[in-house]
């Protein structure tokens, strides 16, 4: 007979929708609205799992998320296996495949249960004591054996194919728990018009009201009142079912885990499986209810033993009788309701066993009137039954009662877990979690907590119940379980106290009580009471262990969210395509490691590229270099304080190598400082330090030297860079430079000129020691220039060759030769310290005794005596092949130019050791090396410049704009390029600039002004972004015409950003998948603009209409941002568009 324990009628299940599912090897039937637990009980399945340590048979204890025993694995196909799910929370759906856990070979006949016989030898702390020595045994023997015997479900072995999402949300009131109190709080808050989020971990709102068909509220049966109340909530209330509030974090940020698809047999393809909500709440109303406590007595863990209220829930909500013959054991009035209701449903109730001396009150009398025997001041002394309880023995030692069900109630514990994490933020508790048991009072208090007048509710049908008392302690017994999930008994607690552990935190760690996946929801208070009895203390003085997130387990997929695969971290891409390169990721950029020809190895390609630069001409994509424009009358003074050199002596048109120190005197970065005009510098930084250097400079400008009239603008993405290096470089370049005499350009100079028709900044410098140029040009034109030069037989070289070429010249590479503890003098760059220019950052530290010691690590060269040998970077350098380290290898390569291996190293007193032989110890033996100067390849003589006739550039190739996946409710498009100016100015100059360009620069933070076709966006108190149609060529000159007494900085950044538009009713929602700002129109009105983060990309977000946003994205991050927004749009994709178009 199918579902023999299903009642004939009643419950919230849909009996018209039968559902077939499997548990282990059995196929079973249930109904829509069932949980796995209720469906198993309907089918008389009570043995559901084996316990963690002793493999004891276990059943279903509860009807909610507190369940410690009924953990199962749900298999949704390859990679979609989830272990340790609570059967009480798994919604039944067609095809659900669940299996029991921790049994060998089967649930009914478990070999591991033999360990149960050995339970006396597995006391708490046994791991620490038994397996201490020898250590190797632990790894080889004990751990595998224990892992095999103990444990719960197994982690899936395959990658998770599901999607997971994050969502940032803001609300005035977050209500956690959608039972009676939570719904009433929502009614109260909704009436005030507040933005409300109401979440509940269950599939349906209503909590215990769904199990109370006999209770009426304002004349409605309780389950119907729930539906009516929810329907009456206003639009400002967001309902989130299947959503667990799992943790509270600073700033009233609450983490919610929402399960979206696991309950569906056929989820929509674009739908994420789970969504993690980051809710920033004005205030929180906690309506999490209370959890019934089990009673602790010997043998209290057999299948068939259940919390009394859970039995009522199964009966009234799911239409399931949990057994045929029940014994109720209680210390609380509420269990009498279970006795009466089960009796009325036709379940024989053999006895009520009450721990209290004189149970009285209406609930007790109602049971007594049914003729059910009540044993007062009594408890259970033992139970029997191999796979399900078949009898109980009372503590009098004589009375044995046959039964298949034992219902327990030790009273109720308020669910204060999250409140304990709230750190004094604005939280209110209502309902059972505030200790209120009277329903009308719950409802009244909750409406008031919601913000309205206290509501009055007519509640009928509930007997008056006495409040729960503290439980009575149980005697130590090896089978009286306190913590079911971790198999901890009262005797284990006694053992721990006997060994001297008396703090609740120590008891927890020593016995592992409360440390299982259920976090001790049902064991918490019973532990405290048992401990208090052992150490003869008042239980109220013991205290709680720390409540930590998550409240219930959260999947790794949900935590990771969208940060997987391409969206794990943005990889910035250069405007120069390098399809034929071996790519590598460096400092967040995709770079070209080398450009091998067909069949060529990386080593061979690198050697060829190096030789081409030394003997002919090579070019590298150096677009990733950091670039900063430094503008203002005090720019040179500022640079003098930031870098070690003297830039007041640098003439316009000159550039100079520069070292940047920290205040501690150690080298942080290097680069080139070029003076474009008296008040205008173009500075480069290393790729990896671009953000740091700008931050460091801003720090000193804003807080250290606030009087200086200087402004900084990042132009890293405004300029692509082609490094053209080698003896033939001038000859290659000259035919494309129409407006300057290349041969007349001295070393370390800079010119603003043209490459064909492309405006460029041309630097006569390089990182290879060869004659060479760095061509700074607009990214849109970079590919064209690159392809043109390539056609002139210039060899492309990658980062690998770049490193070798610079190391051959003894040039340092920041982060390789430097590690934050290296001075300029250590690097042999003491000459770069300008001693007589006045104070600068780091100068004072240079005279500290530690920084002037003769035995400091100094940069030298090392040549292995065996020429073919290439040392390992990071290898130690010693005198004798062992003993104290003298330093380490910082860079090591094979040089094609030298035909041998060579290295740079930091060696103690290195410069005094030149010529000495040292040894580099390696696992295969010490390698003998000779200390040398750090310059291996002498700087070549200049080749005479031979002018050649002009040549044309290749034509520009248009790149198609990316096309977004169709989604009517949230459209995404790339906008046409625009003219963009970065303006940095004080108030007076800002007004003047606004007048000059015809759009006032707003002074209100994060607001924009639009005038004619121009817009000015406030980005900071001295910073604006000006937008105008593409080709507004005169605008920059207009803006620069500020009066001399009110200097300012105006920099063309048209190339730096590309704009995207996202529009439609779901636009804000999709942005909030990656952006943590509150995008409600009241918080982020039309016209608001700000820099912010979208995922991990810094963007400028601008609301230009109610449902229209513009996003200015740094061009190297466009593919990342585009992919983020496409991912967020996927759940709204039009039906026809299941294919994923390529991102641009």
């Amino acid at each position: 007979m199918t579902q023999p324990f299903r009642t004939a009628s009643g419950g919230q299940i849909d009996r018209q929708r039968p559902i077939r599912f499997s548990f282990d090897d059995r196929t079973l039937d249930g109904f829509a609205g069932d949980t796995l637990a209720s469906a198993l009980l309907a089918n008389d399945v009570h043995l559901v799992g084996r316990s963690f340590k002793y493999h004891r048979p276990r059943g279903i204890l509860s009807a909610g998320s507190e369940e410690p025993n009924a953990l199962v694995t749900v298999d949704r196909g390859p990679g979609r296996v989830t272990p340790n799910l609570r059967a009480t929370q798994i919604e039944l759906h067609d095809g659900l495949t669940a299996t029991s856990q921790n049994r060998v070979p089967s649930l009914r006949f478990d070999l591991g249960a033999v360990a149960g016989l050995a339970a006396p030898v597995l006391p708490p702390g046994f791991v620490y004591k038994t397996f201490m020595r020898p250590v190797s045994f632990w790894k080889r023997l004990y751990e595998p054996a224990i892992r095999h015997a103990a444990g719960l479900g197994r982690a899936p072995g395959q990658g998770d194919p599901d999607r997971y999402a994050h969502q940032y949300a803001h609300c005035d009131v977050l209500i956690i728990g959608g039972g009676a109190a939570g719904i009433a709080a929502a009614l109260g808050a909704s009436a005030t018009g507040a933005r409300v989020i109401l979440c509940d971990e269950q599939a349906e709102f209503g909590g215990s009201l769904l199990s109370e068909p006999g209770v009426t509220i304002d004349g409605w049966a309780a389950p119907d009142w729930v539906r009516e109340a929810l329907a009456s909530l206003g639009e400002s209330v967001t309902l989130l079912p299947r959503t667990t509030a799992f943790g509270a974090y600073p700033g009233n940020l609450i983490g919610l885990a929402q399960r979206l698809t696991d309950h569906l047999a056929q989820p929509a393809p674009g739908m994420p499986r789970e969504r993690l909500w980051h809710v920033r709440a004005g205030r929180v109303i906690l309506a999490a209810g209370a959890i019934e406590r089990p009673l602790v007595f010997p043998g209290n863990d057999r299948p068939g033993m259940m919390l009394a209220a859970a039995a009522r829930t199964y009966l009234h909500r799911y239409g399931v009788k949990v057994g045929s013959r029940a014994v109720v054991v209680t210390a609380d009035d509420s269990a009498y309701r279970a006795a009466a209701d089960l009796h009325a449903a036709g379940v024989a109730v053999a006895a009520v066993v009450d721990l209290r001396p004189k149970p009285i009150g209406p609930a007790v009398e109602a049971v007594r009137a049914l003729g059910i025997p009540i044993h007062a001041e009594m408890t259970i002394g033992g139970t029997a039954g191999p796979r399900r309880v078949d009898s109980v023995r009372l503590a009098d030692g004589q009375t044995i009662i046959a039964c298949d069900t034992v219902l327990m109630s030790g009273g109720w514990t308020p669910s204060v877990h999250l409140l304990a994490q709230s750190r004094g933020e604005a939280w209110t508790s209502v309902g059972a979690c505030a200790g209120t048991i009277d329903l009308a009072t719950c409802l009244r208090d909750a409406t008031e907590a919601g913000g309205s007048q206290p509501g009055t509710f007519a509640v009928a049908g509930l007997p008056e119940l006495a409040p729960s008392a503290l439980p009575l302690p149980a005697l130590p017994h090896p089978k009286a379980f306190v913590d079911f999930q971790n198999d901890v008994t009262t005797r284990d607690i006694a053992t721990a106290t006997a060994e001297g552990f008396v703090s609740i935190e120590h008891i927890k760690r020593y016995t592992t009580i409360g440390m299982a996946t259920d976090q001790g929801k049902t064991s918490n208070i019973n532990t405290i009471v048992a401990l208090a009895a052992q150490i003869a203390q008042d239980p109220r003085a013991i205290g709680f262990t720390t409540f930590r997130p998550p409240y219930t387990p959260v999947t790794f997929g949900t935590v990771a969210g969208r940060c997987r695969g391409d969206l794990f971290a943005p990889i910035r891409t250069s405007p120069i395509a390098s399809a034929d390169a071996v790519p590598e990721e460096a400092a967040g950029w995709q770079r070209a490691r080398c450009y091998p020809r067909t069949g060529e190895t990386i080593a061979a390609a690198t050697a060829r590229e190096c030789l081409a630069v030394r003997n002919d001409a090579g070019m590298a994509d150096a677009s990733t270099l950091g670039k900063i424009e430094i503008i203002g009358p005090d720019a040179a003074v500022f640079l003098n304080r930031i870098y070690t050199g003297d830039f007041t002596t640098l003439e316009p048109g000159q550039c100079r190598y520069a070292l940047l120190l920290g205040e501690d005197g150690f080298v942080r970065d290097d680069g080139i400082v070029a003076r474009l005009a008296a008040d205008r510098f173009h500075v480069t930084t290393t790729t990896g330090n671009a953000a740091f250097v700008l931050h460091h400079m801003e720090d000193y400008l804003q807080t250290g030297f606030p009087g200086l009239r200087v402004w900084l603008t990042s132009v890293t993405e405004q300029w692509a860079v082609i490094a053209l290096q080698g003896p033939r470089s001038a000859e290659v370049l000259a035919p494309f430079i129409p407006d300057i005499e290349l041969g007349a350009m001295p070393r370390m100079s800079v010119r603003e000129c043209h490459l064909g028709d492309i405006p460029i900044r041309l630097f006569r410098c390089g990182f290879t020691g060869e004659t060479g140029f760095e061509i700074y040009l607009p990214p849109d034109s970079a590919q064209r220039a690159w392809d043109t030069l390539r056609q002139r037989d210039v060899t492309s070289y990658g980062t690998e060759a770049m490193h070798i070429l610079r190391a051959e010249m003894g040039f340092i590479h920041i982060g390789q030769e430097t590690d934050g503890t290296v001075t300029a003098d250590d690097l042999g760059l003491g000459w770069m310290i300008s001693r007589d220019k006045g104070d600068f950052i780091g100068n004072r530290s240079l005279s500290l005794p530690e920084l002037t010691r003769a035995d400091r690590l100094q940069l030298v060269g090392l040549l292995p005596n065996e020429p073919a040998m290439v040392l390992e970077e990071g290898a130690q350098v010693t005198e004798a092949g062992q003993g104290p380290s003298l330093g380490h290898v910082t860079s090591s390569y094979r040089s094609a130019t030298l035909g041998r291996g060579f290295a740079l190293a930091l060696v103690a007193g290195g410069r005094s050791r030149i010529g000495a032989r040292l040894r580099v110890p390696m696992p295969s033996g010490a390698i003998e090396v000779t200390v040398t100067d750090r310059v291996f390849v002498p700087r070549p003589a200049e080749r005479p410049f031979v002018p050649s006739p002009p040549l044309p550039l290749l034509p520009a190739v248009a790149r198609p704009a990316p096309v977004a996946r169709p989604a009517a409710s949230v459209r995404l498009a790339a906008l046409a390029p625009a003219t963009l100016l970065s303006v940095r100015a004080g108030p007076g100059a800002a007004t003047a600039i606004g007048m000059a360009i015809g759009v006032l620069l707003p002074t209100v933070p994060c607001r924009s002004v639009i005038a004619r076709e121009r817009a000015a966006l406030w980005l900071g108190p001295d910073e604006w972004l000006i937008q105008a149609p593409e080709g507004s060529t005169g605008l920059e000159a207009l803006a620069r015409r500020a009066p001399a007494d009110r200097p300012a900085s105006v920099v063309d950044v048209s190339q730096r950003f590309r704009a995207l538009e996202i529009a439609g009713p779901r636009a804000a929602w999709c942005l909030n998948g990656f952006c943590a700002l509150d995008l409600d129109p009241r918080a982020f009105p039309v016209g608001m603009c700000t820099r912010t983060l979208l995922g991990q990309a810094e963007v400028v977000l601008w609301r230009i209409g109610g449902e229209v946003f513009h996003i200015d994205v740094p061009r190297s991050l466009v593919p990342y941002v585009w992919a983020c927004l496409e991912e967020a749009r996927l759940e709204f994709a039009d039906e026809s568009a299941s294919e994923t178009p390529a991102a641009g």
Partner: protein, 90 residues
């Protein structure tokens, strides 16, 4: 994630900010006049209070400004933020 009130932009999520260490450490006017021990203190010695702490933050991915913040290191609650030249709130 903290919610930090930028003195210019208002409350913003912590991921837009960058921490800047202890506040109100003035760089000596003339570092050459400071002895080694005092300079070492300026470089490396910092308060580590349990409770109220004045610290610098920068609204890096926002308006870009440095400002000061009074944060309780135990509760993470922020008593207030203020511009570099301003006095701390009581």
């Amino acid at each position: 994630m903290l919610l930090i009130p930028c003195p210019w932009c208002g409350p913003r999520p912590e991921n837009e900010f960058r921490y800047g260490g202890q506040a109100h450490l003035a760089r000596p006017e003339d570092p050459a006049a400071v002895d080694d021990a005092a300079w070492g203190d300026y470089l490396y010695t910092r308060d580590n209070p349990k409770g109220r702490h004045a610290e610098r933050w920068r609204h890096l991915h926002g308006c870009g400004r440095f400002f000061n913040c009074i944060r309780d290191t135990v509760t993470d609650r922020i008593a207030g933020t203020y511009k570099p030249a301003e006095a701390p709130p009581i």
